[in-house]
Subunit: 248 residues, 2 copies
C-alpha cells in the first residue's frame, strides 16, 4: 500500500490507429517508472468519456492507494470522438436524440473498433514500461459491453470488474454471449437490483454465462446510476487482491 | 482492531427455558469485561451444532480480529438437543433418515422455539454486561431460516449476514416471507450460484423480499457447502463495518 500522500501524475497522449487516433490518459504515481507496476484499464460508460469525474477519481485513487497505473481512452463515438452533430449534448440528450435502441445498436456495432483501440492503447503503455506488470480491467455498462469481448480476446488481462449490463434474448449478435463464455479471468460483477436500463434477469444471465471459474456477483438495491460507494471500495480491493501490490 | 495475539476465552453455559434448557457458548477476548463490546449471534446450519468447527473458528476469529464477543446456541433438534433416535447419525444420515421434506418441515415448525431461545440467550448475555454493545447476527442455511424471523422480532440486532436459503412458492407458512419483509437491519446475503439444496431463484427471491434498505447480495459459483473463504472474510468485514470497533 502506497503512502496516501502519493502525488499522482496525469499523462495525456494519443494512440495512433488507422482512420482515427485515440485520445488516452494515464494516471500513475509521480516519480521514476516502477518495473512490474500493475496497470488497470478503465472503460467508461455510454455518454461518458475518458476523464469523466468517476474515472478521473478512480484512476487517481488506484495510483494513490495501490501504487498502480490506470489507463483510460475515449471509446468510439465518445469524448473527443463524439460525432459532430452530437457535440454539446448531454448523455441523456444523446440517447434521446438517437433513441435508446439505435444508441445501443450503434454502440454494439463499435465493439470490434473498441477492442482494437484498447489493445493498441495497452500495447503503447506496455511498450513504455521497463518491465510491464499485471493488467486489470474495470468497466461498467458500456464498459462491460466492450470489456467482455476485450477480455475474451486479451489473455494479458488478469482480473476484471464488470457489471451494469446484461444478456438479452434479442441479442442480434450472439457473439457477445460467446465472448462471455470465453472469459477466464477472475471477475467481480456489480449488479444494481433495480437497474432501469439493464433488467435484473439479463444481468444475472450475463454473470451466469461468464466462463471464469473465479467470479463473484455483488447486487445492491437501486438503479443503474446508484452503485453504492462501498461497491467501488470492493472493486478497488478486488483489483488489489488479484493484481498484487506494486513491487517497485 | 485487536492484536492478533489476543487470547480467546470460551465460556459454556445453559440458558434456562421452559421445557428444555438451551446449551450456549460465548467466545470473547480474555480479560476483564469491556463495556459496549459488540456481540455477534452465530446461528448454525441444519445438522450442525453450536461448536461445529465453522462456528468455533468464526467465534474465535471475531474475538481475535475485532475484539467482539460471539454467542452460539444449540438450536432446536440439534447438538445436545438432538432427538435420542438420531444421536450418532451424521447430518446427511439424519436428513436421509427423515427425508429432506420432513426434515425441513420439522425445522420450520421449530421456528418459534428457536426465536425464543435466541432472545433468551441474548438477554442472558446482555444481563452480564456492564453496558451492552451493538448486536449482529450471522446464520446461513437453517441459520437464515431462524435468523429472518429473529431479525423481524428483535430490533436490537443491527446487522446480519444471511444466505444459503430461499423463498419457495410452496412455502406453507407465508409467515417466513412476511418476516423477510419486516427485516430492516443492514444485510449481507451470501448465495451459492449452484446451490443444490436451495435453488438460485428461491435465494434471489428471498434477497428481493428482505425489507432492509441497506442490503447486498454476494453470489459465488459452487454448491451449498462451498462458500469461498473470501466471502467469510467479507462477512467479518461487513460485521466490523456495521457494529464498529470494540470501544473498551
Amino acid at each position: 500500500m502506497t503512502d496516501r500522500d502519493t502525488v499522482v501524475s496525469t499523462v495525456r497522449f494519443t494512440v495512433p490507429r488507422p482512420g482515427q487516433d485515440v485520445p488516452a490518459v494515464v494516471w500513475r504515481p509521480a516519480g521514476p517508472p516502477a518495473p512490474g507496476r500493475p496497470l488497470v484499464l478503465l472503460g467508461h460508460g455510454g455518454g461518458m468519456h475518458k476523464e469523466s469525474p468517476f474515472f478521473a477519481r478512480l484512476g487517481r485513487r488506484l495510483a494513490r492507494e495501490l501504487g498502480y497505473a490506470a489507463l483510460a481512452i475515449d471509446l468510439p463515438l465518445h469524448g473527443e470522438r463524439t460525432p459532430p452533430a452530437e457535440r454539446g449534448m448531454s448523455p441523456l440528450q444523446r440517447r434521446e436524440h438517437l433513441g435508446l435502441d439505435a444508441w445501443r445498436i450503434r454502440n454494439a456495432a463499435a465493439t470490434g473498433q473498441a477492442v482494437g483501440d484498447w489493445q493498441a492503447a495497452l500495447e503503447a503503455v506496455r511498450a513504455q514500461a521497463t518491465r510491464p506488470g499485471p493488467v486489470g480491467y474495470l468497466g461498467l455498462s458500456m464498459g462491460t459491453r466492450f470489456g467482455v469481448p476485450l477480455l475474451a480476446a486479451e489473455p494479458r488481462i488478469g482480473a476484471a470488474v464488470l457489471g451494469l449490463f446484461g444478456l438479452t434474448e434479442s441479442d442480434p449478435e450472439a457473439v457477445f454471449a460467446r465472448a462471455a463464455r470465453q472469459v477466464t479471468a477472475p471477475v467481480l460483477f456489480l449488479l444494481q437490483w433495480d437497474d432501469q436500463l439493464f433488467p435484473r434477469p439479463d444481468g444475472l444471465a450475463l454473470f451466469d454465462q461468464l466462463g471464469s471459474p473465479d467470479k463473484t456477483l455483488h447486487a445492491s438495491p437501486g438503479g443503474h446510476f446508484h452503485v453504492p460507494a462501498a461497491e467501488i471500495d470492493a472493486a478497488v480491493r478486488f483489483l488489489g487482491a488479484h493484481l498484487g501490490v506494486e513491487p517497485g
